[in-house]
Structures are given as C-alpha cells and as structure tokens.
C-alpha cells in the first residue's frame, strides 16, 4: 500500500497531527513521552558518569542544576512520567478488552489527573 514512500519519511508518519481525534493525540503523546523518557534515561546515565571524575566534578554539576532551566527540564520529566504512566494504564486496560468503549473518557480522566499532578509538582518545585 504505502510502500512507495521512502523509509525515513515513513518512519515519522505516525506523527501526523492533521485530522486527529482525541485518542489519536493520546497515541502521539504516549509515543513522544516514551521517546522523551528514553532520551532522559541516557542523559541520566551520562550525568551519573560525572561521578567517575570525582566528588568535586559531581558537586559542581549539582550546583548547576539549581538553575530554572534545569528545573523546567525536571518538571518535563515529571510531566512525561505522569502522562505516559496514566495513559499507559488506559492502554493496558483496553489491550485486555477492558472498558474499550469508554477508552476516550478514561483518556480524558487520565489527562486531567496527570495535569493536576503536574501543576502540584510545579508549584512545589518553583514556589516551595
């Protein structure tokens, strides 16, 4: 069918936001947060690699993480965990045939809970 297009173009076609329904956006959010969290895992391992350069190097790095830019990054990780995790529960449920006709409502509920949790985390991280 769509075999004519080249591999690279095809590989990114899943992210085509044109004409998507709510659950289609759920799919895109799930995949984007998955890619983001995988990227973060590598970043995390690189940061831990600083330990190999001694305690001073690691302490210096930790000081730099107090900047707002890092905090925004950390909040992004928290947001990705909530959105991916809560949406993941919905996907597991529907994959076992549970509440499939209600998947849209479950998605809305999961996202509302996720957003509330992100706001609470954000307030605690930035305001204290």
């Amino acid at each position: 069918m769509n075999t004519q297009s080249n591999f690279v173009v095809r590989a990114f076609r899943w992210f085509d936001p044109r004409g998507r329904s709510l659950s289609g956006w759920g799919f895109m959010i799930h995949r984007l947060t998955a890619l983001g969290l995988t990227f973060y895992l590598f970043l995390h391992l690189i940061v831990l690699g600083q330990l190999a350069q001694g305690p001073d190097a690691y302490d210096n790095f930790l000081k730099s993480t107090e900047s707002p830019l890092y905090k925004i990054g950390e909040l992004s990780v928290v947001a990705a965990v909530f959105l991916h995790g809560l949406n993941g529960v919905r996907i597991v449920m529907t994959s076992f045939g549970i509440a499939v006709p209600r998947q849209r409502e479950i998605f809305i509920g999961a996202m509302v809970i996720g957003l509330v949790a992100i706001v609470i985390f954000g307030i605690r991280m930035f305001i204290g």
């Binding site: 095809r10 004409g19 659950s23 289609g24 799919f27 895109m28 994959s95």
Partner: protein, 251 residues
C-alpha cells in the same frame, strides 16, 4: 427558501508522475448538500479532468472515501454544514496510506487482497452471528438466504487511512483487515490465529483508536482488535493447559 453559502473548495490534484498541488474553486453551495455534490459539480461545471470515485451516494459502496479538511469521511454522507462555515475554505484530499492513482482516487487493491485473505464476506449469511439480537427476525435458527444482509464493513478504507501505525508500518495488517478477521470468525478458520497473532497482526496496534473514530459504518475496528487480542490470549492460556496435538500444530 434555500440557504446559499459561498465557500472556497481546495481540491488536491495529482496526476501520476506529477507533483501534487491544490486547485481552488469558489462555489455557491447549499449547506445541506453533501461534499460529494460539490465534487461532482466541480467536475461537471469547472474541470472535467478532476478524477474521483463514487457510486451509491448513501454510504453503502464505500467508494467516495476521502479526506475532508484532513479528516477521513465518506463524502456522500458529509453535509457541507458540518465541515465548513459560510465564507470558509473546504479542503478535499485523497485518503492517506494508499498510492494516489489520480487526484482523489487511490489504489486500494492491497486492502481488498488482505480482506480476501482473512475471509471477510461483504454479505453475511450466518444470521445468528451477523445480526444483533434485537434485529433478528423470528423464524428458523439455521442460516437462511432470506436473512442475508450486507456486512457492516463496506471496505471504504477510512480506518486504514486514519491509522497512524499503518502510516509508518505498511506490513501491519491494519484495522479493516483485523476487523474483517474478527467478523469472519476465528472459530471458523483457526488459521487466522496464526495470521493475527503476529508482529504485523493484533500486537502492532498501539491503541490510537482513530479507526473507530472515523468508521462510518459502526464496525468499531478498535474494539474488534482488542476482542481479537482477548481471544488470542484466551487461546494461549487454553493451549498452555491443553497443548495442541502435533497434527493440529502442523495445520
């Protein structure tokens, strides 16, 4: 008095070997007519080279599947009022994920081959399974030709176009084919288990449910794929305690 709107319709135009482009046509329309009426009028009055497919005009043939303002629709049952406002722009484009033959017509041959592969029947004769209980006529319980009906799936391809996974993975059987397998009945054809219980079968679906959102015929492919998964898991558990005999495995 009939209401009149003036809208701009952007038609996707592409002949084989050419780059696609949009053709804009300003049209006076009745907001209660359907999009297919505009396409037919554009062909009849503005440009006879516009290629599109249509047949029944009442969502039974599935021929006029296209993207209306990027969303997969059957043009014959999509009122203009539901997709554009007076003075607005309406975009009409061919389905995604299929090769464009010309303008709004795509090659769906591979879909039909796959539907044949899973044994999907455009007409159901097994009334016990095909007809919902409340619509079953009184009479003998055996399948009866008098009770034959059109299958829910009209093979319009909207779900295949909307599926983001199929966009990236052409080997994926796709929602229409998996729904077809479900409608054909795994119990009747155990070989289907092998086909759908694979990396290109039910496990490739990533629960975007776009198929269900665009299906004009209430087939609900998303639900059927999840039902197939449930059956596959059930079959695996069953064979765990009651392994198939070698002769059965070879079948």
């Amino acid at each position: 008095m009939v209401e009149k709107w003036n809208i701009t319709v952007k038609f996707y135009r592409q002949k084989q070997g050419e780059k696609p482009h949009d053709q804009e046509i300003k049209m006076d329309v009745n907001p209660d007519e359907n999009v297919i009426d505009l396409v037919e009028r554009a062909w009849a009055l503005h440009d006879r080279t516009l290629v599109f497919a249509h047949a029944c005009h009442h969502s039974t043939c599935g021929a006029c599947g296209m993207r209306v303002n990027e969303r997969e629709k059957l043009a014959c049952i999509t009122p203009v009022r539901s997709v554009v406002a007076n003075g607005g722009t309406l975009k009409v484009a061919p389905l995604r994920n299929f090769p464009v033959i010309s303008d709004l017509v795509v090659d769906m041959g591979e879909l039909y081959r796959r539907m044949d592969l899973v044994g999907h029947q455009p007409v159901d004769s097994d009334r016990e399974e095909a007809i919902q209980p409340e619509f079953r006529p009184a009479g003998p319980a055996e399948p009866n030709e008098d009770f034959m009906r059109l299958s829910d799936c009209i093979e319009c391809g909207l779900c295949m176009s909307a599926c983001p996974v199929f966009s990236s993975t052409p080997d994926y059987l796709g929602p229409a084919v998996l729904a077809g397998a479900h409608q054909a009945g795994l119990e009747k054809n155990p070989l289907l288990f092998k086909l759908i219980d694979s990396a290109t079968g039910v496990w490739r679906c990533h629960s975007a449910f776009e198929c269900t959102a665009v299906c004009p015929s209430n087939v609900d492919p998303g639900w059927r794929i999840m039902e197939l998964r449930r059956k596959v898991i059930g079959d695996r558990v069953k064979t765990l305690f009651n392994p198939r005999k070698p002769a059965e495995v070879g079948k």
